[in-house]
Amino acid sequence: TVGAVALDQAGNLAVATSTGGIEGQAKGRVGDSPVLGGGTYASNDSCAVSCTGDGEVILRGALAHEVCALVKYQGLPLAEACQAALRLHDDKLKGDKGFIALDPQGRVAIEFNTNVMRRAYRVGEAAPYIAIYQ
């Protein structure tokens, strides 16, 4: 799965996520990526989030919207909201999870519970950050 979140100079957020699914998946299987609120969500009044990992787990947790809701209604800073979503129902939502998120103040959060998370970000003219391993 691949994804992107962005904040433009007009102060607007957007998100995009695209996936080839999982190896050997059943025909017609749908994971979290195309489900709004599942693996993909953006709202200018909270943040933009794209998820990757075990699709069924992320979908059942509605984790992209969870992050936005924690920011909007609980007032959590973005990174804390991502960490809380990562731990949500730890016993019932076990699996690989990774989030990239961005808020209207240009704060980037990247949280994951895996040893590999292919990721990159760049804020304004600052140097780009690119990493793969934990």
Binding site: A16, K97, Y121
Partner: protein, 168 residues
Amino acid sequence: MTLYAIAIHGGALTMKPGELSEEEAAFQRVGLGKALHAGWLILNRGGTALDAVEAAVRSLEDNPHFNAGRGSSLTRQGEAEMDAAIMDGRTLQAGAVTGVRYVQHPIGLARAVLERSPHAFLAGDGALEFALACGLPLAAPSYFQTDKTRQQWLALAQQESNQLAGHD
């Protein structure tokens, strides 16, 4: 100074040590850098966040080292069935597609759903017919497959075949 930013991902998973080769990791780093730059350039020039995320994801869909577009995982039948979604945080307009075959850029189709359809989510044949109606580029099934995904699919098929051995 005006604020703008972009973040991207190319998938998260738990891997065994050595499972990701140095060579493959290097290809992926280059791909991440290229996709990041594609989106960043749009933002830097005053473009919209929606255009930036689409550009970054298109770049990753074109790159066979990532699981989307070209390089997608294969179903049990050996086909690429892709999903994509895009959302505008300003308007809460969204477009999503699932079970899409042959469409070269599923994220472009999701954007077309957002902008050119009254719906938010199209699936399977309906999504494909919408892509045709919009004149979006299609590709043969082989375009989406790579040596790696073909090998993975063959290994799975072999495993299933072995499990069936001895039964009539």
